[in-house]
Amino acid sequence: MKPDKNQYKSIAGKVIIILIWICIWQLLSILIHNKILLAGPVETLEALWRMILTGQYWKALTFSAARIIGGFCAGSAIGICLAWNAYRVKLTEDFLNPLISVLKAIPVASFVIILLIWAGNKMLSFYVSALIVMPVLYLNTLSGLKASDVKLLEMAKVFRMSMWRQVRYIYIPGIRPVLRSAFQAALGMAWKSGVAAEVIGQPLGSVGNGLYQSKIYLETADLFAWTITIIVASFLIERLLLKVIGRGLLLKEKTV
């Protein structure tokens, strides 16, 4: 479907706002006039372009993205499975409650250091992302399941609907909105925590390592370029994953 006139206007408005912010950034960098303190957008884009042309940049991006997305998927799957278990068996919920509360309260830095000692730095961002994502998905899925339509569940019981059919036609449509926003929030958290883990753990050839190197050599433009890379990668992957997940959650009537 083609965007209409209003959509074009809205997009143009957003672009103008972004351009104004970039101008403010450029003005500030001119005023400060210190590339270490604040690199301007031009220097940042130059640094980004220089990095893009190297194979190392793409390797680092692939290295980090694979681990962070892997951790996100694993954390999501574990969170959803545990939530389903907790919904079905109250004892599971009671048993998991303290663990989930602890996982929510522990600062990312503590996680990173503990996991660095236990598992080394190679897969650190995978584990950290998974541990950050898991409680988010667990809590949201559980609350969605608990809010399932009781009347429809009674209907399913009377008609002896199979569990698979109940999941497909009653539970998934019920939790779909909650799950969508949970995935969105969790994916952002996975990126932030994953990269933070890499900055602390320093696995060679990762985005976090690139960020750290920029800091050491006071290459603020490179630091900004890596940051832009993370933002763009996170945005694109979020869009893609939400589309895939959204499709998976959709109730396709023709397959009844």
Binding site: E154, F159, R160, S162, Y169, E253, V256
Partner: protein, 199 residues
């Protein structure tokens, strides 16, 4: 098959709703259909819910005898029309009927729904249908799967006289030998059946 509910009692928050209700159904008898009567709030829905296995009576017993074997009430396979439609809003009429069980094919559901609904309403999401149309979908959903007993709680709500007669005809033609237990204030057009008065 013999279905025997004896001395069923149920109370909520200290208020007695059902007090010693008895119901015996011999599915081989011509007298197997039962009309549940009584003023509002007397426990008709509660009794139907007990038969459907959704509520447990405080006291009383239920015995279902199938030939030589006897089993508890929860073993009954029930086809039910609830007081509310309890349909899945996003699904079409056909899908609402099919989603219950893999044994109901799309063709079978479509053919059954055609008897009580206009063709162009079958594939619309049920949330777009009128109250009366939704009611008819709920009735077809109750009739179509294999069951031991049919339970209908105010099934004719929202139906005009002409549609009600059509629906009653559909129910009686398609229920087969299954006993029909029906609670309804609108009894006009219903064939003569045994009455169980609750008060």
């Amino acid at each position: 098959m013999l279905i025997n509910y004896r001395n069923i009692c149920k109370s909520y928050d200290g208020k007695q709703i059902l007090n010693g209700v008895n119901l015996f159904i011999d599915t081989s008898s011509d007298n197997r259909d039962v009309l549940l009567r009584g003023p509002s709030g007397v426990g008709k829905t509660t009794f139907l819910r007990i038969i459907a296995g959704l509520e447990t009576p405080d006291s009383g017993s239920c015995e279902v005898t199938m030939g030589e074997a006897a089993r508890g009430g929860s073993g009954l396979r029930v086809g039910m029309v609830f007081q509310e439609n309890r349909l899945i809003d996003e699904l079409s009429a056909v899908s609402n009927v099919c989603c219950i069980s893999s044994s109901i094919s799309v063709e079978r559901a479509r053919a059954a729904l055609r008897a009580v609904l206009p063709e162009d309403s079958l594939d619309k999401p049920v949330k777009e249908l009128s109250g009366g149309m939704k009611r008819r979908v709920a009735i077809v959903r109750a009739i179509l799967p294999a069951s031991d007993i049919l339970i209908m709680d105010e099934p004719f709500t929202g139906l005009d006289i002409e549609t009600r007669e059509r629906v009653i005809r559909y129910i009686m033609e398609n229920k087969g030998s299954r006993p029909l237990l029906i609670a309804s204030h609108e009894t006009e057009g219903l064939p003569k059946m045994r009455e169980l008065l609750l008060n």
